[in-house]
Point group: C2
Chain length 255, copies 2
C-alpha cells in the first residue's frame, strides 16, 4: 500500500485524487489546499485540510500547484527526509526544497475540469535524484495504470516544449480552421473526422511519413490560391511560415 | 442500383473503388486509368481500361485524378449529358466541361496508400449545378455510409483551406514535436496520447474553449524559457507566431 498526501486543488490535483482514490493499493491520507472551499466537496472521501502544520505522515507528498507556487510551498513543509514531488513539466527538480527527497511526477496530458480521462492514457514522466524514489514513483504510476518513463531534466523540459507545439499550437490551428469555416457559414463539424484521423495516423506512422498536401507536393497553384484567400488575414503569415517549414523538412525550395 | 465509372488510380480513386465495390447498391461498371498497370491488380473485380473511347455507360463518372488533369480529362470524355464529377477540394465546378452535368464529390479526409479508412468517417462535400444531381450524389454518399454536406464553391474552398491548417500544418507541428524530443533522445511515443486527446477534446468542445497552456495563461516565465530553448532554431519563429495568435484569440497582449 502506498500512502499519499495531495497538495493543491487544480485540474491535475483533482484528476490525480480521483485516480488514486479508485486505485486498490493507494491510500490518500490527506488533501491539502490553501482554501478549503475548493476541496470541501470531497471531505467525505478524504481528510481535507488548509493547515500545513497538521499534515499527516505519508510515503509521498504530491505538490500539484501552479508552477510559481511550488518552490515556496516545498519550503514551508514542516517535515524532512520525506519524498516530495511536484507535477510540473517545466519546474526544476532542484527547485524543491532540499530538506526532503525530491522528485517529479509529471503527467503528460491535457486535463480539463469536466472531461474525465483514464490514466491508462496518461504517460507519467518521472525524475528523481535517487533510484529508490524512482521505484516508489514508478509503482505509484503503475497503480493508476499509467505507463511511466524515466526522464532527466533536459528531456522533461524538451517534452514540455514539444507538448506546447502538439497540444496548444495544434489546438490553435483547429481554432483557425474554425474561423475559416465560420467565415463562409460552413459547419466546422465537417473537419472533425479529418482532425481525428490526422492524430490517429501518427500513432503508427512518423509525422514525416504521414505528411501530405500542397506544401509537401510543392503544388504552387494551390498555395497561391490559398494565399490569395488569406489576403489581409493574420493567418496568412502562419500559412506561409508552416508551408516553408514543411518544405524545409521535405527538401523543397522556400515559397 | 447506382452505376459508376471511376477515372484515375490515386489514393482517392482506390479508396472510392473499394468502398463502392463493397456497397450493396453500387456497381462499378468500369475503372479507367491512362496506364493500366496501376489498376491491373483489380481486373478480376472490375472491368479495367486505358481507352477513353471504350468507356461504358454509367449513372455517374467520377474523375479522381490530380487537380491539374481534371479539366482536360473532362474535355476528352466522348459523351454528353451525363453526370460527371470530380473529387477535388480546390478545383472549380465549372472547370469541368459543360457538355456534361457537372458536380463535385469531395471526400474531406486524409487518405494513405496503406491505411484503410471506413467511409463512415469520411464526410462528403457535394456541389452540383442542379438539385437532381445533388440527390444522386447524396445517395451515392449514403450508400458507402458517408455523411454528406451540400456546399457551394466558396464553402468548399474554405474547407479545403481549413483542412490544410488542421491536417497538413498540424502534422508539421507533430513533426516539430518529434524533432524536439529526438534532440534529447526522448521517446516521441510519450507525446502520442496527448496528440490523440487534443484531437478528441474538440469533438465536443470548441477549439476556443479547449485552449490551455502558457500562451493562453500569458505565463511569461514559461514562454521566455521556451524561447530560450529554441534560440537558433527555425521553430522559434513558429513558436512566437502561434503564441501571438493564441493571445490575440484570447484577448491577451502580444509577446
Amino acid at each position: 500500500m502506498i500512502s499519499v498526501v495531495i497538495l493543491g486543488a487544480g485540474n491535475v490535483a483533482t484528476h490525480l485524487f480521483k485516480a488514486f482514490y479508485k486505485a486498490e493499493n493507494i491510500v490518500v491520507n490527506q488533501w491539502f489546499n490553501r482554501t478549503l472551499k475548493s476541496i470541501d466537496f470531497y471531505k467525505n472521501m478524504v481528510d481535507v485540510t488548509d493547515s500545513l502544520s497538521s499534515l499527516k505522515p505519508a510515503d509521498i507528498y504530491i505538490i500539484a500547484v501552479s508552477d510559481d507556487a511550488i518552490m515556496k510551498l516545498s519550503e514551508q513543509l514542516p517535515f524532512e527526509n520525506k519524498l516530495v514531488v511536484h507535477t510540473s513539466g517545466s519546474v526544476g527538480l532542484y527547485d524543491l526544497d532540499k530538506k526532503n527527497h525530491r522528485g517529479v511526477f509529471y503527467p503528460l496530458q491535457t486535463f480539463s475540469k469536466d472531461a474525465t480521462i483514464g490514466f491508462e492514457n496518461v504517460p507519467i514522466c518521472i525524475e528523481t535524484a535517487n533510484k529508490n524514489d524512482f521505484k516508489t514513483l514508478k509503482l505509484l504510476a503503475e497503480s493508476i495504470n499509467s505507463k511511466s518513463y524515466r526522464v532527466n531534466s533536459e528531456q522533461r523540459s524538451a517534452l514540455h516544449l514539444a507538448a506546447v507545439f502538439v497540444n496548444n499550437f495544434t489546438n490553435q490551428l483547429y481554432r483557425i480552421g474554425h474561423e475559416i469555416t465560420e467565415s463562409t457559414s460552413t459547419e466546422f463539424d465537417i473537419l472533425k473526422p479529418l482532425i481525428l484521423e490526422t492524430a490517429n495516423k501518427i500513432q503508427n506512422l512518423s509525422p514525416f511519413m504521414a505528411q501530405t498536401g500542397p506544401a509537401k507536393r510543392n503544388d504552387k497553384k494551390t498555395i497561391k490560391k490559398h494565399l490569395k484567400k488569406l489576403e489581409g488575414s493574420p493567418h496568412k503569415a502562419i500559412y506561409e511560415m508552416l508551408t516553408n517549414s514543411i518544405q524545409k523538412t521535405h527538401g523543397r525550395k522556400k515559397l
